[in-house]
Assembly symmetry: C2
Homo-oligomer: 238 residues x 2
């Protein structure tokens, strides 16, 4: 495996409802002399996808709790509450704080919801990169989630297109020739985490290029909702 | 933020008890024309740290369940069982499968335990890289963990030295000038995840260089056990 580059895409500009996010990213990448290439994975934050898709809801800027009814409406099930914090399972099956609803980096009086179907959002961007910009890239839509037992947040994939979301190593052997015990690696979450290292929360960098991934990991099949979200019967923590 | 490079270190060689892991990594990096540099983060897999430190236990190669008593001995608390799988909290406070005990990539008849104190392991490697090889690098000891609600495994940090484990963004503002809601980013876990993308499970690549991290993230203070593992009172999932 050769080296990876993780390249932040600066200068994307302000994304609004119906913005052509693929064009904005492709142009910004070219403008900073790192044009998109076949075989890249483009990580795009949930926030800009939600803004472009109009997945926004009005909140009362004077009331810090006004988004709570929205959280409950967007949640299939509440797992935990502590003070203002709600950890719930969204209708997509994601387990996260406040149903992924976020006030930061949006206009005052508005909150961003998670995209309705983040895998579909990723597929659309991939199709646009290919059809309008001539590059065959994978797309990962990333978001920032907390997790149990460990402090701090990390970015994970909430949608993907063009990458195998969970790499199946069954049947492969370790360096001693024995079949591996660990057989499924969630590469899209690792790609999202890697991209966050260059995007940062305050910088307003909404996209990054992950360049150099193994071509064998690219596939049109699968997505986060089908491949990464655990079915309830397989989840020991429901 | 400028780009990151994630560089696998090939040709490290077979690590055994008392191997000089820092020397093996420094030499292999130099041999492949990517010598370590000040400001790098070096990610090292738990497996080679455990081997070098002798954190190994004998198991019966004819009995696939013979490591179970060891799992229970290494665990502070069992969270879940399903068939042969045990998810437990280790004595360090990590929640993972089988107390992190692993049969792969070790000699037949042996299993690798987690290092006794992975932050100490990271500090020792950092001191050796600096004192014997003249480079000021951060060190992250990585391991592969599953997680609830999401399929597939990802790498996380079980030990670190020289990097702020959880970056505190409190007081910083978003692009709209509002104070950020998400204030703590676990950068060491994201560094571990990024490194796994080039290390792979079958390849036997035990180390990777993460080059280009923000110099402001480097610090001698903190580690995974103190900064990342949640205290029980703060953990909603205990």
């Amino acid at each position: 495996m050769s080296r990876l580059e993780i390249i932040p895409v600066h200068g994307v500009g302000e994304v609004e409802r119906r913005s052509d996010v693929a064009a904005m990213i492709a142009e910004a990448a070219a403008a900073q002399d790192t044009p998109l290439r076949d075989g890249d994975a483009v990580v795009v934050t949930q926030k800009v996808v939600s803004k472009a898709e109009g997945a926004m809801v009005q909140v009362d800027p004077a009331d810090p709790l006004s988004h709570k009814p929205v959280v409950e409406a967007e949640s299939r099930r509440i797992l935990r509450r502590r003070g203002e914090l709600i950890i719930s399972e969204t209708r997509h099956g994601f387990v996260c704080a406040n149903a992924g609803i976020d006030l930061s980096n949006v206009d005052r009086g508005w909150a961003a919801l998670l995209p309705d179907d983040p895998d579909r959002s990723a597929r659309r961007l991939r199709d646009q990169f290919r059809g309008r910009h001539g590059v065959n890239v994978a797309v990962v839509v990333s978001d920032t989630f907390g997790r149990p037992w460990r402090r701090g947040v990390t970015d994970v994939a909430i949608g993907s297109a063009g990458l195998v979301p969970v790499l199946d190593l069954r049947g492969t052997t370790d360096a001693y020739g024995r079949e591996l015990m660990v057989t499924e690696v969630c590469v899209v979450d690792e790609v999202a985490a890697a991209a966050e290292l260059v995007m940062g929360k305050a910088l307003g960098v909404p996209a990054a290029i992950v360049r150099g991934l193994d071509p064998a990991w690219f596939s049109d099949r699968g997505g986060v909702l089908t491949d990464v979200v655990r079915a309830p019967a397989d989840d020991l923590f429901r």
